[in-house]
């Protein structure tokens, strides 16, 4: 038994869509698409971005090391995805708000979150989310995709107050399967707010590869469901990424409505330190992806373009390593919060009924 050969005739097309893709550099750093953006030959633009990527990687190494030696909790490495944070954050204004996932340290650091704060957070201390610089940025969201709603809300506040600010939300490929991602996108468009959603499509959500996550050919097209302008970009190509994010954020800022960008990248490390990726993906796949390393790619481009020397580079590396080491030291030297600090920020004013509990905590008992 099989399907009849139906002959029903469509009367016409009522909508058409396409997803476009941008890449400037191939994985050797060669230019494959011209003209390049105007800033692509400016070292004052590119070197800070490159440095942010290096710093992110040095931080990552330090954090992994702390974790392995029992001095940090479960930790999620951004290895291989460093271009995204640099591109996104450098396309934002200071007064914009970042609503990050748990893997966008580069973006957070660019905006002023310190490595010590990041370590405190992953080291189990709430003070790590009390960012001293980007005071309005969100703490990382562990519940996947739930923070997309926050970005829509923040962007709504900007619109209501006629502020030229943008809420930028970073999420993963796995996050695009969640309903709150879709609801946020749909409402952002319906309300026409300045929110930009950046998907770091690193091909894996823990052990779930993209093709088990969705049958959509691209993640960019998820935006079509909400009527949101979208595009796909090579997420390991800093030049392409920055061109795309800069435009999207700018457009959102100046009233063009929300945007969605799918950045194609690859998670080179385990999902977190609690994960063992060798259980579900081949070493060959990972090895192949190493040649796409965004840092190596930008490095080749910068060296070729004469924007960076090997000497600059080694200095940069050393500086970033020193910074990471200093943060580690500061982190390890930070005394823990007192137990009763559990009550300090629970409410603006601790309700009377909780005072007893707080006081009992000192005496090691809790019975209302």
């Amino acid at each position: 038994m099989h399907i009849k050969n139906y002959t029903h005739r469509h009367s016409g097309k009522v909508a058409q869509f396409e997803v476009r893709f941008t890449r400037y550099l191939d994985n050797k750093g060669n230019v494959v698409n011209t003209p390049l953006p105007s800033w692509a030959n400016k070292s004052d633009v590119l070197i800070p971005l490159y440095k942010n990527m290096i710093q992110t990687r040095k931080f990552d190494q330090a954090a992994l090391n702390l974790q392995r030696t029992g001095r940090l909790g479960t930790y999620a490495s951004p290895l291989g995805q460093e271009a995204i944070g640099a591109a996104v954050a450098s396309s934002m204004w200071a007064e914009d708000v970042l609503v990050p996932s748990y893997r966008e340290f580069g973006a957070q650091m660019w905006r002023g979150v310190t490595m010590t704060e990041l370590l405190l957070y992953w080291g189990g201390d709430e003070r790590g989310s009390d960012y001293q610089v980007p005071r309005e940025d969100f703490p990382v969201s562990i519940p996947v995709a739930s923070h997309c709603c926050h970005a829509t809300g923040v962007a709504y506040a900007f619109k209501l107050r006629k502020q030229k600010r943008v809420a930028v939300c970073c999420l993963g490929d796995g996050a695009t399967s969640k309903g709150d991602f879709y609801e946020s996108l749909n409402a952002a468009a319906a309300w026409h707010v300045p929110a930009v959603f950046i998907i770091s499509n690193n091909q894996w959500a823990i052990s779930i590869p993209l093709n088990k996550q969705t049958s959509a050919q691209t993640l960019a097209q998820k935006a079509i469901a909400a009527g949101v302008v979208n595009e796909q970009v090579d997420g390991n190509d800093l030049i392409a990424l920055r061109a795309v994010t800069e435009r999207a954020i700018d457009e959102a800022r100046f009233g063009e409505g929300p945007r969605l960008i799918e950045a194609l990248t690859y998670r080179l490390g385990d999902h977190t330190t609690a994960d063992d990726a060798s259980r579900y993906r081949s070493q060959a796949e990972v090895e192949e992806q190493r040649s796409n390393d965004p840092i190596l790619r930008l490095r080749s481009y910068l060296l070729n373009a004469g924007l960076l020397t090997e000497a600059d580079e080694s200095e940069l590396n050393q500086e970033c390593e020193r910074n990471a080491a200093a943060a580690v030291e500061q982190y390890l030297a930070t005394p823990p919060q007192t137990a009763r600090s559990m009550f300090d920020y629970l409410y603006a004013h601790l309700p009377d009924s909780l005072r007893r509990q707080r006081d009992a905590l000192a005496g090691q008992q809790c019975d209302g």
Partner: protein, 326 residues
């Protein structure tokens, strides 16, 4: 001064606060042109425009989550969930984000939002429209859960909820939306949160309740007064955090306690009240604390809803049993 209903008092509080604080906005399904399916937001669109009276897509998760985002920016979103039966998909946002934003950022960000929802049975509503699940929210640390029981308290408590710097779930007993009218001075005066209201002083027994059930309890108290039984009726109002001081003082005086709520018995908020009375008031108690509640069943469709909900008769009976306990 004209007398107004509870839902009108909600509207009056919203109007007052939106007039006096431009950071306040309302959002939800049908809150704009329609004025809300119960008309709680009627007239707001005309007064405050469609940016502060925001009809949202049909997405409760988003409504609550976007409110979190707005609140971190210093707006005070008042989100309406059309019926409590559709509020469960907000729990993720309320528990994982709203109620802990201040704590997790050590005070850097906070979440001054109000989530309003009508709840409870008794209006012959369709399936899923009549439940009372306040206990699900009241268990969440960092949250406040407030339930008014009269037009005056709806006005004063809603103003307080909006002004509170932390997230508040404000549950409106829809059965009494239009049951009784009161004069409600529109003076912007809030009532205190976190305290119970003694609706009727008495000496023989303390009856602790909230929301629509205050009406059955007051009726029971009236009826018992005819038998010379003096019932103290306590309206908890802010069920989370719980003002046990007022309740325990009352029980100290009366020695007997009955708790009344519409929600299912097991794990209903009455359990918390009963547990605390039994712990801290044990020596005062002349009889076991009893609860008169909905059954541990699914709220039935409307033909049987009256059988489900505590009636004045049931309350009177249990009070009598407690009084007779020796």
């Amino acid at each position: 001064m004209a007398e107004i209903t509870l839902v009108e008092a909600v509207n009056q509080a919203l109007t007052w606060e939106m007039s006096h604080n431009e950071n306040v906005l309302v959002l939800g399904e049908d809150v704009g042109v329609d004025g809300g399916v119960f008309r709680a937001t009627v007239g707001l669109l005309e007064k405050f425009g469609d940016e502060r009276v925001l009809d949202s897509p049909l997405s409760e998760t988003l409504i609550s989550g976007a409110s979190v985002g707005m609140a971190t920016q210093g707006l005070i979103p008042i989100a309406e969930i059309q019926f409590m039966g559709f509020a469960y998909s907000t729990i993720d946002q309320i528990l994982n984000h709203a109620a802990r934003m201040r704590n997790r950022t050590r005070g850097r960000l906070s979440c001054p939002m109000v989530l309003r929802a009508p709840f409870g049975g008794g209006i012959r509503a369709p399936e899923h429209h009549s439940e009372s699940t306040e206990a699900l929210f009241a268990h969440i640390p960092g949250l406040r859960v407030v339930i008014p029981s009269s037009p005056i308290r709806a006005y004063g408590l809603l103003l307080a909820a909006i002004r509170d710097p932390d997230p508040v779930v404000f549950l409106e007993p829809k059965r009494i939306y239009r049951l009784a009218k009161q004069e409600v001075p529109n003076n912007g005066d809030a009532l205190p949160l976190d305290v119970c209201f003694v609706l009727r002083p008495g000496n023989d027994i303390s009856v602790v309740t909230w929301g629509a059930m205050t009406h059955e309890v007051m009726a029971a108290a009236e009826r018992l007064a005819d038998q010379d039984v003096s019932v103290e009726v306590i309206d908890v109002a802010t069920i989370k955090p719980l003002d046990m001081k007022t309740i325990l003082e009352s029980v100290e005086k009366t020695g007997r306690c009955v708790i009344v709520h519409e929600a299912a018995l097991s794990g209903g908020w009455g359990a918390e009240v009963a547990a605390q009375v039994a712990e801290h008031g044990l020596l005062d108690l002349l009889a076991p604390v009893r609860r008169v509640t909905g059954y541990d069943t699914v709220m039935p469709l409307y033909r049987l809803e009256d059988e489900y909900m505590p009636s004045t008769d049931r309350i009177v009976n249990v009070i009598n049993e407690v009084l007779e306990f020796a």
